[in-house]
């Protein structure tokens, strides 16, 4: 007796159930990011959001992307964001977010957009999309370094430009404070 392919009674496949759970976590944590008032907690909720997204990537058969998501977005980018926030906190600055004055219009706009997108997704015949493709690392590497080698190199140029800019902005002048 193997575990059935679908959830008993409501006939929901396990993958779909996982998808529902992960999406719920994703949307919930994304909402927390914009509604929480403590900016550090916002950042932590963002990490949860990224983790749920990584789970979704695994679910559609892209574990490499998922691992990269965790490694880069949670392990590096979010940490650096939190790092910067913690480092620049001063006693003068408000510890809690105070500029959520347009929450209501934003919420209405977001709800309308969500409704439109839901309508769109439901009404469109996504003919180009078929069953999820299992992307192996080797295949991905071949595509990346053959078909998409120019974008790959351009991304490195983009990062170089960003690094130069970042260093310039963060650099302290030789004499006197920045």
């Amino acid at each position: 007796m193997a575990i059935p392919d679908a959830l008993p009674f409501i006939n929901l496949a396990w993958g779909d159930l996982l998808f529902l759970i992960l999406s719920a976590v994703l949307v919930g944590s994304a909402l927390l990011v914009v509604t929480l008032r403590d900016i550090i907690r916002c950042g932590l909720a963002m990490m949860v959001c990224f983790a749920a997204l990584a789970g979704l990537y695994v679910l559609i058969g892209a574990p490499l992307v998922a691992a990269a998501q965790v490694l880069v977005y949670i392990g590096a980018i979010s940490v650096l964001v939190l790092f910067a926030i913690m480092l620049t906190q001063t006693k003068a600055a408000p510890a809690r977010l105070v500029f959520q004055t347009q929450a209501l219009p934003a919420a209405i706009a977001a709800a309308i957009l969500a409704f439109l997108i839901a309508l769109t997704v439901g009404a469109t015949n996504w003919n180009a999309v078929s069953a999820p493709i299992r992307t192996g690392t080797a295949i991905l590497a071949r595509v990346l370094f053959d078909q998409f080698v120019l974008p790959f190199e351009i991304v490195s140029v983009l990062l170089l430009a960003a690094v130069i800019g970042g260093i310039f902005l963060a650099k302290r002048e030789q004499d006197g404070p920045a």
């Binding site: 007796m1 490499l64 949670i74 940490v79 650096l80 790092f83 913690m86």
Partner: protein, 446 residues
């Protein structure tokens, strides 16, 4: 008073306990036997049908459980080895040579008050140790201990490993922030800066190995090093090994890179405000990380569970216990008493001061040692994972010892030296290694 009552009165306290326990045990055993007979087949069938799932759950459980004893072992090792290096005795009270001290430490930590400072961000404060501990345990899941003995063999094992290892810093940052203490915050910030800086050379240094092995699966990487000592990747990637080992030391926040909890500068860093079992989780995670760092080094560069020379295993033991028939029963029932007497007799005969029952005790001890050795030897010869596990653990503990040794001897570096070293030396070295490896593969065409 009835007969039963009077008999009860006469029993000693152990007797009373036994009188209750034995019938209860008998009933329970019988019930269990019936239960197994009735639904055992179905349960076994269920487990067999869902083998991958069962395998995963079992592996996760074992990995989770093995962290505790290995952390105990490493903590004891650290206390004892550093003590010996300092010409002290070290732990010597609890257990033989103080070996149970870390267990007692664990119990002590468990019983302490679990204290939350005023002003702390309570949910974050509570979750931080969990995140740190879980990230260690989850990265342990892909470490190959022996042939066929690993939690899960991912295609992207190495990447997964680094991804999970990178989560530790999230926990440290959470701990540092939520403690509402500037030393904690400093420790958290230091760990974030340090771990992110060293993660880059760490990841880049293994890319050379990935190129050589053609895979990111840790199991496949170990398999690619089969053969003898000279098939290990350390010989083809010496620079990567050096970079990797330094970076992995920093990732595990070990001396000389233990700035996150530098006790002489910032009390205990992120762990300052923690007490009780929450501190225990940090403490355990740190030593589990030492084990993981050592194990990863061994798996990637030192052949994992491969023996350094061609080992003549597995030897097939051509003995089928079933063929002995009734003889097996006789051997099992009569063998041990006979062996105990035979082993004990020489002591009784050769030394007049030893009485016969004392000789029997010696014989019993000897028999057990021989029997355990025989069973282990048989297992060693029959199953390749046993010998693999022994090699892996042996190599790993050499590195664990190295970590302890470094803690005993090296001074702590300064934060600017730490960052400068990562970006100015390790990163270029890792890039150089990657470039040379790729170039060599291109030229030699493998």
């Amino acid at each position: 008073m009835t007969v039963v009552g009077r008999t009860w009165e006469r029993l000693t306290i152990p007797g009373k306990i036994l009188a209750v326990v034995i019938p209860l045990g008998a009933v329970l055993t019988a019930g269990l036997a019936i239960l197994i007979a009735v639904i055992g087949g179905a349960v076994v069938q269920f487990l067999v049908d869902n083998l991958p799932l069962v395998r995963f759950v079992v592996a996760a459980t074992i990995v989770l459980l093995m962290t505790v004893p290995s952390a105990f072992l490493i903590i004891y090792m650290e206390m004892k080895v550093i003590a010996l290096m300092n010409l002290r005795y070290g732990p010597d009270r609890v257990g033989p040579f103080g070996s149970a001290l870390s267990v007692v430490h664990g119990l002590k930590v468990l019983m302490k008050e679990d204290f939350t400072p005023t002003g702390a961000d309570v949910p974050v404060f509570t979750l931080a140790p969990v995140v740190v501990y879980m990230s260690s345990v989850m990265s342990l899941l892909v470490l190959p201990f022996a042939p066929g003995l690993f939690g899960q063999d991912f295609n992207i094992g190495l990447l997964y490993f680094f991804a999970m290892g990178g989560l530790t810093v999230v926990g440290l940052l959470m701990a540092g922030w939520s403690s509402f203490n500037k030393y904690s915050l400093l420790g958290g910030l230091r760990s974030a800066a340090q771990v992110i800086s060293y993660e880059i050379p760490l990841t880049l240094s293994v890319v050379g190995v990935i190129l050589l092995a053609g895979t990111m699966s840790l199991n496949q990487i170990v398999l690619g090093q089969a053969g003898n000592l000279f098939d290990w990747y350390i010989w083809r990637q010496p620079l990567a090994f050096v970079v990797f080992f330094i970076a992995v030391t920093a990732e595990a926040n070990r001396t000389p890179f233990d700035l996150t909890e530098a006790d002489s500068e910032i009390v205990a860093g992120f762990a300052t405000e923690y007490s009780g079992m929450r501190f225990g989780f940090f403490f355990f995670a740190e030593y589990v990380n030492v084990f993981i760092a050592s194990g990863l080094t061994v798996a990637v560069f030192l052949g994992g569970w491969n023996a350094p020379f061609n080992w003549p295993w597995p030897v097939a033991v051509g003995l089928d216990p079933g063929s002995l028939g009734i003889g097996l029963l006789l051997l099992l029932t009569l063998g041990p008493p006979l062996a105990i007497v035979v082993l004990g007799l020489p002591f009784y005969l050769l030394n007049s001061r030893i009485r016969f029952w004392q000789a029997l005790i010696i014989g019993f001890g000897l028999f057990n040692v021989i029997a355990v050795a025989a069973v282990l030897g048989l297992a060693f010869l029959s199953f390749d994972w046993v010998v693999g596990l022994l090699w892996f653990m042996g190599k790993t503990y050499v590195f664990v010892f190295t970590f302890v040794w470094m803690r005993g001897t090296l001074p702590r570096v300064r934060i600017d030296q730490l960052m400068g070293f990562a970006w100015k030396w390790l990163l270029p070295a890792a890039l150089l290694n990657l470039f040379v490896t790729a170039f060599a593969i291109l030229v030699l065409n493998r």
